[in-house]
C-alpha cells in the first residue's frame, strides 16, 4: 500500500510538474517571463510579460505573479500556476519596481518618470493614492509590520518613509548617490538602502531614521567604479545579507552582526536583482548582460549553477508549492 502511494505520488508529480518551487524571471529586453523549476533549475516555461518587464513579485499565497510592464505603463498580472494573464492593474507611468504589503494588498509602485509612488488596491484595481516623492523613484521596501513603505529616489538620493495608512511621507533620509533598492531586515531592526553610484549600502535605524553604518565594497583587481550595489536581500533568520554588485559581476555576502563583507561570489555579468527560495536555501540572481540566472547555495556561499534565461533578465521572484 505504501508502495502504491509512492507510485501514485510519482505519477502525480509526472502529471503536474509544478510541485517544486518555481522561479519567475522578468526579461527586460525579451519582453517575456522565464519560469525555472526551483529544484532542477531547468527552464520549464516562458510566457509573454508585456513591454519591458522589470519589477516582479508574487502574492503571499503564491497564486498570483505581478509584473511591472514599464513600457505598457501598467502592472501585468498572471496566474502563477496556469501562467494565464489576469486583468492588469493601473500603475501610473513607467512602473519600475514595486512592493506588496505583507498582507498581500495594496501594491506600492515606483513611477520612475513621474516622481510619484502609486498605491493600487489589487482586488478592486483602483488607485488608492499617488504619493509625490523625489526624482526617479525606484527602490521599494516595506517594513515587516506593514506600517512603513520605503521609496528610494535615484536622482534626489533619498529614502522616503511613507506611512501606509495616511500615504504621507513621514521621514526623508539622505543616502549616497543613486539609491536603487530598499530592504528591511526580517525583524525590522534595520533598513538597508543600496547606492549604485555612491558604491555603498546605508544601514538605517528605522526608529530614528538615521544612517548608522555604511557598508563599502572592495574587490582586488576590480575598479572601484564597477562596484555598484543594486539588489539587496536578507535571510529570514537575519544571519546573512546579500548585495548584488552590478557590473562587478559579484554578489557580496555580509554579516549583519558586524556589517562586514565576508565574501564575494562571482556570478554572471551585470548582476542586479536577487530572490531567495522560500526556505532560504537558494539565492537566485539576475545577470542582465550574460542573460542568465546564477544559483547560490545560501548555506555554503557557493555559486552552484547558472541557467540561461531570456534577453536581459531584470527581476526575479520565487513561489513555493
Amino acid at each position: 500500500m505504501a508502495r502504491f502511494s509512492a507510485l501514485l505520488a510519482c505519477s502525480l508529480l509526472g502529471a503536474t510538474p509544478a510541485l517544486a518551487d518555481r522561479v519567475f524571471v522578468s526579461n527586460e529586453k525579451g519582453n517575456d517571463i522565464t519560469v525555472l523549476d526551483g529544484t532542477t533549475f531547468e527552464v520549464i516555461h516562458t510566457f509573454n510579460g508585456g513591454q519591458r518587464p522589470r519589477g516582479i513579485t508574487a502574492s503571499p499565497d503564491g497564486k498570483v505573479i505581478y509584473v511591472c510592464a514599464s513600457d505598457d505603463n501598467l502592472v501585468r498580472v498572471f496566474d502563477a500556476h496556469t501562467y494565464e494573464e489576469l486583468p492588469s492593474l493601473p500603475s501610473g507611468p513607467d512602473p519600475e519596481l514595486f512592493v506588496l504589503h505583507p498582507s498581500g494588498n495594496p501594491l506600492y509602485i515606483a513611477n520612475e518618470d513621474d516622481n510619484i509612488v502609486t498605491v493600487v488596491d489589487v482586488e478592486t484595481r483602483q488607485v488608492l493614492a499617488e504619493v509625490p516623492v523625489g526624482v526617479e523613484p525606484e527602490g521599494m521596501g516595506v517594513s515587516p509590520d506593514g506600517k512603513i513603505v520605503i521609496n528610494t529616489s535615484e536622482t534626489t538620493n533619498m529614502a522616503h518613509f511613507i506611512d501606509t495608512e495616511t500615504f504621507e511621507i513621514v521621514q526623508n533620509v539622505l543616502v549616497d548617490q543613486r539609491p536603487r533598492f530598499a530592504q528591511f531586515m526580517a525583524d525590522g531592526s534595520a533598513l538597508l538602502v543600496s547606492s549604485e553610484i555612491g558604491g555603498t549600502v546605508s544601514v538605517i535605524d528605522p526608529a530614528t531614521a538615521q544612517v548608522t553604518h555604511k557598508i563599502e565594497f572592495e574587490v582586488p583587481g576590480v575598479l572601484p567604479e564597477a562596484l555598484q550595489p543594486v539588489g539587496v536581500r536578507a535571510t529570514q533568520d537575519g544571519s546573512k545579507v546579500f548585495v548584488a554588485l552590478g557590473p562587478a559581476n559579484r554578489v557580496a555576502v555580509i554579516d549583519p552582526a558586524t556589517w562586514e563583507v565576508t565574501d564575494y561570489l562571482l556570478v554572471g555579468q551585470r548582476v542586479w536583482q536577487l530572490a531567495f527560495s522560500p526556505d532560504d536555501k537558494y539565492l537566485f540572481t539576475t545577470n542582465g548582460n550574460s542573460n542568465d540566472v546564477s544559483v547560490i547555495d545560501v548555506a555554503t556561499n557557493e555559486v552552484i549553477k547558472s541557467v540561461q534565461v531570456g534577453q536581459q533578465p531584470w527581476g526575479v521572484v520565487v513561489v513555493a508549492e
Binding site: 523625489g134 526624482v135 529616489s153 538620493n157 575598479l223 567604479e225
Partner: protein
C-alpha cells in the same frame, strides 16, 4: 513674491526628518548667440531652446528634491549677443544671482568670467577650447563642457584599442578648427598614434548639399583625400560642423572617418540608455519635445552640481555651495556609470565621453586598459601635472 511664498510653504510640508532653514537658490542660464554658418545637415540646426531646455529639466529635478529640503530653485533664462552679454551678466549678479551657466564661445566666456569677478561662479556649458582650461583658466569658471583634450583623448584611446594608430588628419581652415586639430595632434602624441598626413580643408563658401551640391561633393572630397600617406582612419577636426559630415563614404581610400564626423566623441547623445540614461532622455523629451543635445546635458550637469551641493551641504549660501561644488565631496550622478567631480587644478568636470556613431553609442572612454593612479577619468584631458592652469599649483 506670492509664488515664492507658495513654494516655500510646500517645502515646509514635505520636509519631515530633515529640519532645515528654508532657502531659495537662484541660478541663470546665459546663452550668447553669434551668427554662424548653418551646419551641413538640417538635423543639426540649433533648436531655439538649445541648452535652456537642459536647464529647465535640471531646475525641475532640483526643485523636486528641494521640496524635501526646504529649498526652492529658480533659474533665469537670458539670451544675449556678444555685445550685450556682459551687461546681462551684471544685471543678473546685481539681482542676486550668483550661479550662472554660460553658453558662449571661448572669447565671450572669458569676458564674462572677468566681468563676474569673485561675486559669481560660472559654469561653461559650451566652449570646448583647451586654452580655457590652461593659460586662460579663471578661478570663477568651471566647465561642464568637455575640453577638446578630453574629447580627442577619448577618441584616441578607442582608436588605439582598435590598433588604428595611423591617422590622416583633415582639419578645417578656421581658427577653432586649428585649435581642435592641435588637440588631436596632442592626443596622438599622448597615446602613441602617428599622424601620417594632415591636410587643411579650405572654407571657400561653396558646395553645400542643397540643390545639386552633393554632385560636387561627390567629386571634390575624393580628389581632396587622394594620394594621402597610408592611414587606418581619417580623423576630422571641424569645430562647428561645416564640412566634416561630407567625409564619410567620399574619401578616396575606403577608411572609416572619426572625430567631427563618423565616430564622434560627445558628452551626451540622445540614444544613450546605459546607466539609467533612458530616464534622463524621457524626462528631457517630455519637457522639451525634442531629443537632448550636448549643450542641454552640459547645462543640466551644472544645475545638478548646484542642486547636489545644496542638498548635501544643506545650505543656500553662495560661499558654502561654491566650495562644495569645487570640493572632493561632490559626487555627481549623471547617467555615466560613475560619479563626476570638478578637477581642482583647472575647474574641468571629469566625465566619461561617449563615442557615438549615428543611432547608437559605439563605445565609452576611458577605455578600461588605460589606468591612472587617481581616477581613470583623468586619463582624458589635461592631467594635474601637465596643466598650464595655476589655480592650485
Amino acid at each position: 513674491m506670492r509664488l515664492i511664498w507658495t513654494a516655500l510653504c510646500g517645502a515646509a510640508a514635505f520636509a519631515p526628518g530633515l529640519a532645515l532653514a528654508q532657502s531659495e537658490i537662484r541660478a541663470a542660464v546665459l546663452r550668447v548667440d553669434v551668427q554662424q554658418v548653418a551646419p551641413v545637415s538640417r538635423l543639426d540646426l540649433p533648436p531655439e531652446d538649445l541648452g535652456i531646455a537642459g536647464g529647465r529639466v535640471g531646475t525641475a529635478d532640483n526643485a523636486t528634491t528641494g521640496q524635501f529640503m526646504g529649498q526652492s530653485f529658480t533659474t533665469a533664462e537670458v539670451i544675449a549677443t556678444p555685445e550685450t552679454a556682459v551687461a546681462e551678466l551684471q544685471k543678473l549678479i546685481e539681482g542676486g544671482t550668483h550661479f550662472i551657466v554660460t553658453l558662449a564661445d571661448a572669447a565671450t566666456t572669458l569676458q564674462l568670467a572677468d566681468a563676474a569677478g569673485d561675486t559669481a561662479l560660472l559654469f561653461n556649458a559650451r566652449a570646448t577650447e583647451d586654452r580655457l582650461r590652461n593659460e586662460d583658466c579663471r578661478a570663477n569658471l568651471l566647465h561642464t563642457a568637455a575640453s577638446d583634450a578630453q574629447l580627442t583623448d577619448a577618441l584616441a584611446q578607442f582608436l588605439m584599442w582598435k590598433k588604428w594608430d595611423e591617422w590622416f588628419l583633415v582639419e578645417g581652415s578656421r581658427p577653432e578648427d586649428t585649435a581642435l586639430a592641435d588637440a588631436y595632434r596632442r592626443a596622438a602624441a599622448k597615446f602613441g598614434a602617428e599622424i601620417t598626413e594632415s591636410r587643411v580643408f579650405e572654407d571657400t563658401g561653396g558646395a553645400r548639399s542643397t540643390d545639386s551640391g552633393h554632385v560636387q561633393i561627390q567629386a571634390q572630397i575624393p580628389v581632396f583625400t587622394q594620394r594621402a600617406e597610408d592611414h587606418d582612419v581619417v580623423v576630422a577636426a571641424d569645430a562647428t560642423g561645416w564640412f566634416a559630415a561630407y567625409l564619410p563614404y567620399h574619401t578616396w581610400e575606403a577608411r572609416p572617418v572619426a572625430g567631427s564626423a563618423g565616430l564622434r566623441p560627445q558628452t551626451w547623445h540622445p540614444a544613450s540608455e546605459a546607466w539609467g540614461g533612458t530616464q534622463f532622455q524621457s524626462r528631457f523629451e517630455k519637457s522639451a519635445g525634442r531629443p537632448a543635445r550636448e549643450e542641454d546635458y552640459q547645462v543640466w550637469e551644472a544645475m545638478r552640481a548646484l542642486g547636489e551641493a545644496a542638498t548635501r551641504s544643506q545650505s543656500g549660501e553662495f560661499a558654502t555651495l561654491a566650495a562644495y561644488i569645487r570640493g572632493p565631496e561632490l559626487k555627481l550622478a549623471a547617467y555615466k556609470g560613475q560619479d563626476l567631480s570638478f578637477r581642482d587644478w583647472d575647474g574641468q568636470l571629469r566625465q566619461p565621453i561617449l563615442l557615438t556613431s549615428g543611432p547608437i553609442t559605439t563605445s565609452v572612454s576611458p577605455q578600461a586598459e588605460y589606468l591612472h593612479q587617481v581616477t581613470q577619468l583623468d586619463t582624458l584631458g589635461h592631467d594635474r601635472a601637465e596643466s598650464k592652469c595655476m589655480l592650485t599649483k
